[in-house]
Symmetry: C2
């Protein structure tokens, strides 16, 4: 008893979430993929998603970049993608994949990973969350050259946004270090931080807004919400003239676009 | 560069989410598995989760029970589990699986499904969300015999809770039909329903609380929050003397318990 929905569904690429980095970031990406998919109102019209969350096999990316002894994230994520490839081959399907971790996109990790992936010839096309973000910035803020970053202290220190936006001729604007501490606390504070309290506490929202204003004062023409929790305080959108862009939403939209272009919701829709 | 966390992780069973029924319910189950896992504070101490969300191949369960022509949910979910089994075999691993859909647990669907699964001898142990819920009721409300149900109209009409609790000698208490319409609207209303607005709107919360009070007045000694969205209005917990139980949290806890018993958080912890 196959129906039309099923037949059209089976022509689409599946979406692969290379997850576990961290586990909750994968859940948020998964949620956003569903939210960004335009359907006929039935479950059956949603995309097929393979979400493999394998935290134990993937070492901490920041520690790895710092040279600490952790499980190699390249080898770990290859195991995730090989497992997905085996599953895809069982059904003769292709997938488009994304990895919900800023630091994994540091060239020292992402480049060897994508090279190995290509050599192994899996039926998976890998997207790059930060490259997609740079392209979205061009689209939403054409001509912008100075881009602000709000993130955890770890993402900031990894330099990953600076490096990748730099390749696109974009200059990264940061908040002063003492403000970074205030922002980091807005994310991590045990009693009122964004990771601890839902909906977002007023103090956390105020700190995120303040950090954004400082970036704008420093000349930022667009702002990246470079941490999963920040959109809980300040949802993606335009504030005044300045677009605030959430890389996880960008990645979710890119995955839907590559899996089934006709099912991508209009932006903000 | 393997570390201790990785080695201990690889002895654990993986957790399988047989998802797409509906897609967002799988995301909620996935979130709860992460929330119910006690870790050492690192990502690497979380369980490995295979979450396959394959909505297009699994027909609507309620329509199927009503004899409408839809893709057979038993065949569809078998395809999900075979795909997972293929992936597990690549790594020589076992899994414990759960399905985040009330109606899938109707005996007319769940029984042939679990029989076929056993015949095919996959390395997956399947849990039953509603059997686990009945056992949790026994634990949290020992001696209780009259159990209230809050749910969508579809779950209520499917009779799945009545049938399964009946096997445990438990009597199901429902709200009157006109109240059911008010409750259904609390979940589905386009502008203030629980599916539409986060955090929950006051009107929706009031309707869920009212429905719970009516069940208690009718003699319910425990109440089942039998729909993914209801805990957004009334989180699982004890209200007065009456435990309100969320079957998705029950399933998440059962999956953690079967995958890695030492990592199950204390209830309410």
């Amino acid at each position: 008893m196959h129906n039309d929905t099923q037949e059209s569904g089976e022509k689409e690429r599946m979406v692969l979430i290379g997850g576990g980095v961290g586990p909750m970031a994968g859940v948020e990406l998964h949620r956003k993929i569903i939210e960004q998919t335009a359907t006929d109102g039935t479950d059956q019209d949603h995309l097929e998603v393979i979400h493999l969350s394998r935290s134990p096999v993937i070492g901490d990316r920041t520690d790895y970049l710092l040279g600490k002894e952790v499980a190699d994230p390249v080898e770990g994520m290859l195991r995730v993608f090989r497992m997905a490839a085996g599953a895809l081959e069982l059904e003769g399907r292709q997938a488009v994949g994304g990895i919900p971790c800023n630091t994994f996109h540091a060239p020292a990790i992402f480049e060897p990973f994508s090279r190995r992936l290509e050599e192994e010839q899996h039926p998976i096309r890998l997207l790059h969350m930060l490259e997609e973000t740079a392209e979205t910035i061009r689209e939403l803020a054409p001509g912008a050259r100075r881009i602000g970053l709000l993130s955890t202290t770890g993402t900031r220190k990894s330099g990953v946004y600076e490096e990748i936006l730099g390749r696109h001729g974009l200059e990264l604007i940061l908040i002063p270090e003492e403000e970074q501490e205030r922002l980091h606390e807005a994310i991590y504070h045990r009693s009122w931080g964004l990771k601890a309290v839902s909906p977002a506490a007023e103090e956390a929202v105020e700190r995120v807004k303040r950090a954004g204003r400082i970036l704008e004062e420093r000349g930022a023409e667009a702002v990246i919400l470079g941490c999963t929790e920040l959109p809980l305080a300040l949802p993606e959108g335009r504030y005044g003239h300045t677009p605030y862009i959430d890389p996880m939403t960008v990645l979710a939209r890119a995955l839907v676009r590559e899996a089934a272009p006709s099912k991508l919701k209009p932006r903000g829709g």
